[in-house]
Symmetry: C2
């Protein structure tokens, strides 16, 4: 399979390492012999029709910061041009999430779809902003569009709902979709104030320098939009979600709820009509009441009842494993 | 699709109710038009080549105790004879679990396979006793053999591991697979003695008159055998599992562990070599430390880390929903 890799940060590099360490398994078990024929980072794009040497690609990135230093047997040109014209079956879009206009991911994805290429992405921006139209475009162009890493990282929350609950109807989804805020709220449960907990999260590397996306609930909103569209057939975008972040959660509130056997959690929920992200008290006995950076989602189904799935929700290698799952799926669909 | 239904207790009747309430969805979404051409309970078997009237079947069972009272347009004969000779695509085996010799389920399943019929079962006995040989027989006869309801009831634990963790490697599985013992241990955590907790479980209908299968760990052992064979490629049967029940768990032990932040749980585990079912202390912060009759399993994967899935693990309608899922799967495989 010929792959175009757009974005070569932690997740992209982990994915290439997975391809290297799993080449035998991938071929024997799934008939996949992957060739990365183009790779882009913020320095530019390199292409190689015979497939890039993946060990060399990793080492160039590590030593010289950008893949464009890869070497002389490569061509360079505009990224959209490469997406459109290069012979490849799958475009893997891994540029950073941008929830303002979805770029550059959105243009990458649209160009790939229009030129008949299957798409895998872990970039939440384009989906959170334009889920319905992107799904339509994928269908119109008859390509596969996979994005399991956008919600839950390596934890297969979307596949679980889509595949394992087949034949049932999901009536409600509710969960903790952001690890950073869950870490902060868990620390507040242990007695820290919001600002102390945020400082601790930053020191441990769980919060970004500008933590707005997490703290104010945008990241959870983006994931809720993706999950509810995919598994509950909503036709929503980010602006449809009622959003409250955790900035105003008071230490006294947390203490009061703790006395009642509850913890305050940033809960994302969809009941088939209303989409909400807001802090609320959750019983410590509820399976979704997980601590630290964990994510957890409960699906309430018509027949099989409530099912909860819990996992790490982030991490380079974990998220890379979701891309591999998507790739195997696409391979199986193409072949059948 | 022509179905033979063997066993018509709570799960079987719930399944027929699901077929009735979902007939439009099943046809529109999955192209399934189910016909139950034979149905057996402990009174005998009835057959109808044109398909039994499902409303009437339910009402006969309710009013006259056995389906053999269904009426005159049916033939009756030996069950194995019907399985072998009746024209049908799927045999659904729902007789009670028997972990001594697996009968009558085992003979039903083997006869169905040998006559080229696909099999769905929620009966743990045959699989727990002879997983490797039944899988071989299914493969040899090129039929589909599905049993998602055997572990977790309506909670799709097996599908989750098999489908959602594809492309990854499960290194360890560990969990609470029996709701009755979990209820008893949860009550002991709240301060009851073992015998008080068992009495409470019986009164609530969570424990059988003879609770041996649950209390002494056999039910968890059977489920562990099925799960570890299916998702970790073990070749094991019940006798390979090191088994300790919860009869000897002392109230003082439970109290002591509680002081340390732990609860004692009946944990079933497989690390790829050793299979163990035994009570052990689990941190209250561990996602598998669920209370009441809930089931929970954590899969530790090579790349995607730890994933936990939690659900009710039992119930007539919940388990019936797993049969419907299996049926949809078989339909998709047959059609492709």
């Amino acid at each position: 399979m010929r792959l175009i890799l757009l974005g070569f940060g932690v997740v992209g590099q982990s994915f290439v390492k997975l391809l290297l360490s799993h080449s035998t398994d991938l071929y024997n078990e799934y008939g996949i012999k992957p060739k990365v024929v183009a790779c882009a980072d913020n320095g530019g794009i390199i292409t190689c029709n015979q497939g890039l040497d993946l060990d060399r690609l990793l080492s160039v990135k590590k030593k010289k910061k950008s893949v464009v230093q890869y070497g002389s047997n490569t061509g360079t040109s505009g990224i959209l041009d490469v997406i459109e014209n290069m012979d490849a079956e799958v475009v893997i879009e891994l540029t950073p999430t941008n929830i303002t206009d979805g770029e550059p991911g959105k243009s990458h994805i649209i160009t790939a779809m229009k030129s008949g290429k299957n798409v895998i992405t872990v970039n939440k921006g384009p989906l959170a902003l334009e889920f319905p139209s992107l799904m339509e475009l994928a269908e119109y162009n008859r390509i596969e569009f996979k994005f399991s890493g956008t919600v839950g990282g390596g934890t297969p929350i979307l596949e679980f709902a889509k595949r394992c609950l087949k034949g049932d109807r999901i009536l409600n989804l509710e969960g903790i979709l952001n690890g950073t805020t869950n870490y902060i709220l868990s620390k507040m449960y242990e007695g820290l104030s919001f600002s102390q907990a945020l400082k601790d999260a930053s020191e441990k590397g769980y919060a970004e320098k500008d933590p707005t996306l997490d703290i104010d609930g945008y990241d959870a909103v983006a994931k809720l939009v993706i999950a509810s569209n995919l598994v509950m057939n909503m036709k929503s975008t980010m602006s449809d979600v009622q959003r409250t972040g955790i900035r105003d959660v008071q230490a006294t509130q947390v203490v009061n709820e703790r006395k009642k056997g509850n913890a305050i959690k940033l809960i994302a929920s969809c009941d088939g009509k209303k989409l909400v992200v807001a802090p609320k008290p959750v019983s410590k006995k509820d399976p979704i009441c997980v601590d630290g950076t964990l994510n957890a989602v409960t699906f309430t189904c018509q027949h099989s009842g409530q099912q909860t799935i819990i996992g790490k929700g982030a991490g380079g290698m974990e998220t890379a494993s979701s891309i591999l799952r998507d790739l195997i799926d696409i391979r199986n669909i193409i072949r059948s």
